[in-house]
Amino acid sequence: MNKKVVFHIVGMNLTIVGLSMLIPAIWSFYYGTKDIYALLISFLITSGFGLLLFFYFKPGRKENEIHYKEGFAVVTFTWLLASLFGTLPFILSGDIVNIADAIFESTSGFTTTGSTILEDIEALQPGIMFWRSLTHWLGGMGILVLFIAILSITGSGGLQVYKAESTSLIDNKLRPKLSETAKILWFTYVMLTLFLVMLLLAGGMSFFDSLCHAFSAIATGGFSTKNLSIGYYDSSYIQWIITIFMFLSGINFALYYPVYKNKNFKSFYKNAEFKLYSLIVFLSISFTFVILYRTFPENGFMDNILDSAFHVISVITSTGFATTDYNLWPEATRIVLFIIMFIGASTGSTVGSIKIGRYLILFKQTSQEIKKILHPKVITKTKIGDKVIEDKMVLNILQFFFMFIFIFIISAIIISFQRIDFVTALTAAGASLTNVGPGLGMVGPMETYSHFNNFNKMYLSFLMLLGRLELFTVLVLLNPVFWKK
């Protein structure tokens, strides 16, 4: 592996992370709070260290190549170091004392998970609170580039679906170059965020809170500035706006640009993944609604619809916002939430988990397999649109599914060494690996992860990273072969 180029790029990324700590510093200045010092010192340390790496590892002309190995290393180390240095504002300001707590919180931010160890979020100083939400937004941006740049080379399942589905978009409408594509995705990301900020402002949220919640919603993170999450705002308007934008963030970002360019929605209704996503969301909401309405008729029709829609979308897009404690809901609805946790939304968005695109192929292949038994001699091909999905790719995706479930269940065993109940063990592992954030039981939406021991906090942080970077990116680095010359 070419270490020089890896740490050169990681250094650059870290410098950017450091620089972005100045934005929360502006809020500290505005509010006149003391956390400004912590943020400024964190900025100096992070950017300083980043620049040091950047200049120390300046690669020569011949060493400037990035292959698979370098790609994996750049991504993993960027997330790892960003999460580590991202803890500085928490620790230096004294808002989080325990280092494992700070690492958990920061990783949860950068991986857009949204699980927290903070018992009282509202006690945070404004600069720190803003930084916490900003990590989501930065993490989400990172995922979009990662998606384009790294996964497209390695062909880790999900992206191939995306490629197969939107090649026409990429080749003709979107510019073919990776950097151009990244820019278009970022532009979409920024625009969605801006829209959401404006709509939240219009709903009476303060500018500070609007920004924080927009960061969280568009990055499908889940950090809120309130202890009651979105439930604090007892406003159907705000809840609906966030529901809609969470849904939008779960759509492949490459679908928005053609709409803007061609002035029609063809890209949406021609996209099989989007259709399946909408269908699953619709079915889950309907199912949840029917059960909720039967259990809580006193809440009325509209509120039950809103509650179902909000939480189904919040979980399927791996956001993790809550307006009510769904821990108290009937069991069937809790199981629905548990299932859709493992579904996730579209590829090419900021969501985590297994993702619809993969399921699309899994379902098609399953029905192929059943048909094949009946007609063993017929040669069949799995297709998405007009594209034939090759066996290699089907294997990749199946493999990903197995690994995901395998890691999930092993992790549930590992974290349950601490005395927790069955449901908490299962959902804490699930919610971390899928980047949803809150789970059920003792990690429900109105609970926190603070009761875990330090080992589990570190382990869950690792799970978030693993899930966020689509397993492979991190796991190959754990293989000793990787480090051999």
Binding site: P330, A332, F422
Partner: protein, 484 residues
Amino acid sequence: MNNRVVFYIVGMNISIIGLSMLFPAFWSIYFGSQDLQGILISSAITTIFGFALYMLLKPKEDLEIRYKEGFAIVTFTWILASVFGSLPFLLTGTLSNFADAFFETMSGFTTTGASVLTNIEGVAPGVLFWRSLTHWLGGMGIVVLFVAILSSVGVGGFQIFRAESTGLSPDRIKPKISESAKVLWNTYLLLSIVQTILLYIGGMNLFDSLCHTFGTMATGGFSTKNQSIGFYDSFYIQWVIIIFMFLAGVNFALYYAVYHSKSLKAFIKDSEFKLYAILVSLATIITTIMLFVEGFGDNFFKTFTDAAFQVVSVITTTGYASLDYNNWPTVTLVTLFALMFIGGCAGSTGGSIKVGRILILLRYMFQELKKAIHPRAVTVTKIGGKIIEEKQLINVMIFFFMFISIFIVSALIISLDNVDFVTALSASAATLTNVGPGFNLVGPAENYSFFSNFSKLYMSFLMLIGRLELYTVLVLLNPIFWKK
């Protein structure tokens, strides 16, 4: 599809089931119990129905059985066996609700061992014997199913195990299906006889020895006692059952290979067996340690026995219990939960995904991790020196995907009965994997009687599809299957 030949063979199978109801009738006579009449009537109805199908549909020309017919025969045999098998429960008044009786019988024939009976010891001896016998018959059926159908069709990658070093390859075991089946049946029978003798020596009476042997060898789980094996407060009996559950989870073809070659080489060489042994040891060790750490153990040997018993019982999908593990530490419960999905080896009477498939999935996973570093390296997945083709890998993985999907969707369906999360998840898993007991409300000291009729029938269906390796039943639900 040739319906005639299908129901001709199904009819034959049903009449065998009907005749086998005479065995419990002997026990009724011996004990002089009231259930004799009900059992004899059931036997008569079943045998006559089966015989009628058999005679009426006797094909005139040579009977030709292809894949389609094979699937239909297997599925209908299990369904009809469970319908007629519920007659002894209904006609003797042991169970009055059809859904209950069907659940109990399906649980028997699929070697699941989930029960709706709240007081097993109150059941008349003939019916009790019939209940355990359904396990043993079901286990026999599974052995044939494996040899005759699954290993020859591309079902869930089973063909991989057909000619593994296990000795089932045509040149080593007699090539014909019926011959292979006989060899495996003899193994099954022999192991059953040995276990019965060992249990009898341990002080169990002949009736209970037979019933528990049936439950063990078929990896079923029906006991004649409310406390299951916990009733016998005997290390000897517990260890006999642990060992025989373990043996029942091994590919039966390995025994033949050992017998044939007079050496244990077949075991040592079989990678599936090795993984199975490793998993059992590992899970037992973790469970033992955690029981000690959490203060559940006072005596090492007893704690070790408890851990081994429960681990082997769950991984082989038997479902016997030597104690109520519901209050065990969570880590051991999650471990048992994970083991449920592993199951025994291919070619055994164990249900679930099976160690062989897990082996392939794990091998492929590690291989892919290596490959990500050297993307251009050409690698192949091998099991026992044989290369697994891409198509077969997809088969195995799709099986895994379907299994997990069916499990989780079923948990949702079961939870409509307003049961808690853990009960819903473990009831779905325990029936699909044919383990039997799960956790919480379906824990080892509990039973399935409180579920609604719908859930009982649904879970019977789950046991069936789990037992018949999903595809066998699911292809029948595909409309294409029924087209000419």
